[in-house]
Amino acid sequence: MLDTLSFLFSHAFMLRALVVGGLISLCCALLGVSLVLKRFSMIGDGLSHVGFGALAIACAANITPLYFSIPIVILAAFALLAMNEKGKLKGDAAIALISTGALAVGVMVTSMTTGMNVDIYNYMFGSILAMSRSDVVLSVVLSVAVIALFCVFYDEIFAVTFDESFAKATGTKVGAYNMLLAALTAVTIVVGMRMMGALLISSLIIFPTVTSMRVCKSFRRVIGMSVGVSLVCFFVGLLVSVRFEAPTGASVVCVNIACLAFFSLFGAVLNLREKNRLFRYKKVLAAGLALVLLCGVTVPFFGGKDPLPAHKPQVVATGFAPYDFARQIAGDCADVTMLLKPGEESHTFEPTPQDIALIQQSDVFVYGGGESDTWVDSILESLRGGKTRIVRMMDCVELQHEQLLDGMQPEDEEAEAEETEYDEHVWTSVRNAMLICDAVCRALSEADPANADVYRNHKTDYQSQLSAVDSAFRQTAEQAQGKTFLVGDRFPFLYLQKEYGFSFAAAFPGCAAETEANPATIGYLIRKAQSEKIKTVFKVDLSPGNVAQTIADAINAKVDTLWSCHVISAADFQNGETYLSLMQRNLRALQNA
C-alpha cells in the first residue's frame, strides 16, 4: 500500500495525473448533478465524441490539441442545446447524430493521416501519460474557473435545473445558464478525455450523481456526496490502475460501478428502514462509513512490488534485441529488464506506470527510437537530469529510410509522397548490432566504473561471435547473388538487406500494422515467385503468415520463418534463445531457400 502511494506522489507524471484527474473529477461531479437531473446526461457522452473528432483533426493538422478542441466542443455543446430547444430533431436523436458523426470523422481523419495507431487507442481509452506540464497549468486554470462559476451561480443553477419554466417566468436568464453549463461541460470533457478516454469520460459525469441520488435527499447533499464519490473513486481507481497495471480510465469507471452498486443496495436498505421511522443522521454516518469501507476493501491489494535491489546497476531495454545485447555485456554484474513481454505486439505498446518508474530508476535505458517508441519521447523529459544513461539504438548506426520494395504495398497511399520514416529495426544487420554493443558497453561502464573492465571483456567476446555471424551473412549474400528472397509479410529486414546486399521482395514495410495484402500485391508476388522459381516464401515470426501461406500454396513452395528479434515468442524466450541464435536461424533459413 505504502509503496503504491509513494509511487503516486514521487513521480512527476503520476502527480500530474493525480492533480488533473482530481480536478476533473471534481468538475465532472459538480456539472454532472445538473446534467443528470436535467436529463442531459447524454450530452456529456456526445460531447466527448466530438472531442475525439476534434483531437484527431488537431493532431492531423498539427495544432495544439486543447486550443483546437475546446472551441469546437463548446460550439457543439451550443448546437446540441439549440437543437434540443428549437430543432425538429429532439434530444437523443440529435446527440446520437452529432456523436457518431464526430467519431466517424475522427476515425477517417486519423486513418488517412497517421493510421489507426496507438494515438487513437489513447484518445479512446485514455492514457495516464497524456498530461504534459502545460496541460496541467491549463487544466488547473479551467477547473478553478468551473468551480468558481459553479459556486457563484449555485442558486441560479439549482433553479434552472429544478424547473426551467418557473425560472424563466420569474426572470432568470435560463438560456444563458444553460449555455454556461454546456460550455463548462465542454471544457471539462476536453481536458479530462485524454486521460480518461473519449469513450469513458462521460461516466465521470453520470456515475457520481446517480450514486448520490440513491441515498441523498437534498440537492446540496447530492452535490457534496457526488464530489466525494467522484474524488474517492478516482483516487481508488488510480491506485487500482497502478497496482494492476490497468488503464486508468477503465479502472476509475469500474470503481464507480462498484460504488453505485453498493449505494443502490444501501439506499434500498435505508428506504426500508425509513418506513420504520429510523432517523437520518445515521444515514450520513453510514454513508461515510461505506466510503471508508470501499477504500478499505481495496487496501489488501496493495502489496506493492518490491523496489529494485539497489546493489547492481539496472538496465532497462525496450525490445528483445537490445535486451539481449545488454544481457550479454552485463553478464552477472548488472540486472537487465525487458519491457516488451514475450509475444506482446511491439507497435502498439504502451508502457504502464510501473514501466516508467522502472525506466526512471534505471541506470541505463536502451531503446530503438523509431515508430514503435514514440511514447519514449513523452518520458524523456522526466529522465533529464536523472542518473539514467540513455542509449538510442538509431543514433548508433547509419540510418536507412523505410522504403517500398518491389511489389510492396504502401502503408498508406497519402503518405507515400511525403517524407518516409527511418526504419527502426536497425539490429537486423549484425554489423549494427556490434555498433550498438559499443554504445551499451560505454553506458554501462559509465554507470558502473568499477566493473568497466568486465563489461569490456564481455563485449569483446560477444563481438567476436557477432563478427563470425556477420561474415557468414556476407558470404551467404555473395553466394546468393541474383537470387530474390520473397517475404510474404511485413519487412523488418531492411538493414540486413542493405548491409549484405541481399535482394528481397516483400508485401509490407517494416512497421505496417495491417497484414492483409490486397489482391494486386499478392498477384504480383505470385507472378514474381513463379518467374524467379522461388521455392521458399518467408513469413516473420509471431505473424499469422496468411499472405506467405497464400503465395506458397499458389506456387507450391514451402513457408519458412525469419526472426525480426524485435519481440520474441514466450516459447523462444523460455528456451533461452538469443539474438545470436535467432540470427543464425535466419542465416540457415536464407541458405536453405
Binding site: R39, D155, F158, A169, F219
Partner: protein
C-alpha cells in the same frame, strides 16, 4: 389601473394564429380562471402573460407597478421533477431567486420569506423532507409556496390540480381561495374543469379561436358561450 391589460391580442405559433381578439383586464384581488377547450390557446395565453412568449399582435401590458420579476408562477410538473433529490426548503427558496440582488447567497430575509411561505401553506413541518418523497398534493403545495416567495401581487397557476386525487384537489382549492382572500394576492388560473373554475373564480376568460369571452362569473353564467359550452341544458 389594472395589473394586466390585454387589448385585441392574437396568439399563434409559426405564423399560425391560435386565438385572436382577446380582451381582458385583471385588477388587484381578482381571481381569474382561464377556461376553454384543448387547443383554444389557454397555455399560449398564459405564456404570453408570463412573458415567455410574444403576442402576434395587440397589446398586453403589466400595470399598477407590476414587473415580470414580481409574478409567481406554478407550472405543471415535469416527470423529471417528481424524483428530484432536493429538500422542500431548497425548492421553496429557489422562488426567492428573482429578489436576490448583488449577492451570491440568499440572505436572512429571503430565507425568512421562504419559511413564511411554508408556514402559510401549513408545510413547515416538511421543511427538511425530500421533495420526491412527498405525495402529489404535498408537492403541489411546495411549488405553491415557492411561487408565493416570488410574489406578493400576482400568482399564475397552470392546471394546478391535474393529477391530484379529489381530496387533494379540494384541499388545494381551499388554499387558493385563502391566498386570494386572506393575503390579497391576485390569481390567474388556467383550468380545463369548468365547474371548479366557477366555484373559485371572480372572473372568467373563456378562450375561443376568435372572440373570447371575458366577464365576471355572473356575466359568464348568463352568456351564450357558457350555454353553448355546457350543451344548453342548464335552463329549461
Amino acid at each position: 389601473m389594472a395589473l394586466i391589460d390585454c387589448k385585441q391580442v392574437s396568439l399563434g405559433y409559426e405564423n399560425r394564429i391560435v386565438a385572436q381578439d382577446i380582451n381582458f383586464q385583471v385588477n388587484r384581488g381578482d381571481l381569474l380562471c382561464i377556461v376553454g377547450e384543448n387547443g383554444s390557446g389557454k397555455s399560449t395565453l398564459m405564456k404570453a402573460i408570463l412573458g415567455l412568449k410574444d403576442t402576434e399582435s395587440g397589446h398586453l401590458h403589466y400595470g399598477d407597478g407590476l414587473t415580470a420579476k414580481q409574478v409567481g408562477y406554478l407550472p405543471q410538473q415535469t416527470t423529471a421533477q417528481r424524483d428530484f433529490p432536493a429538500s422542500v426548503f431548497e425548492v421553496v427558496l429557489s422562488g426567492c431567486l428573482s429578489s436576490k440582488k448583488h449577492s451570491i447567497f440568499y440572505n436572512k430575509a429571503l430565507r425568512q420569506r421562504a419559511t413564511d411561505s411554508l408556514q402559510k401553506l401549513d408545510m413547515l413541518p416538511y421543511r427538511n423532507r425530500c421533495y420526491r418523497e412527498l405525495s402529489g398534493g404535498q408537492q403541489q403545495r411546495v411549488l405553491l409556496a415557492r411561487a408565493l416567495c416570488a410574489t406578493t401581487t400576482l400568482l399564475v397557476l397552470d392546471e394546478p390540480v391535474s393529477g391530484l386525487d379529489p381530496l387533494a384537489t379540494a384541499d388545494f382549492y381551499k388554499l387558493i381561495r385563502r391566498i386570494n382572500r386572506d393575503y390579497g394576492i391576485t390569481v390567474i388560473m388556467v383550468s380545463h374543469d369548468l365547474q371548479d373554475a366557477l366555484s373559485l373564480a371572480t372572473h372568467i376568460l373563456h378562450m375561443k379561436q376568435s372572440g373570447a369571452f371575458f366577464g365576471t362569473k355572473q356575466d359568464y353564467l348568463q352568456s351564450d358561450i357558457y350555454r353553448a359550452f355546457t350543451g344548453g341544458g342548464d335552463h329549461a
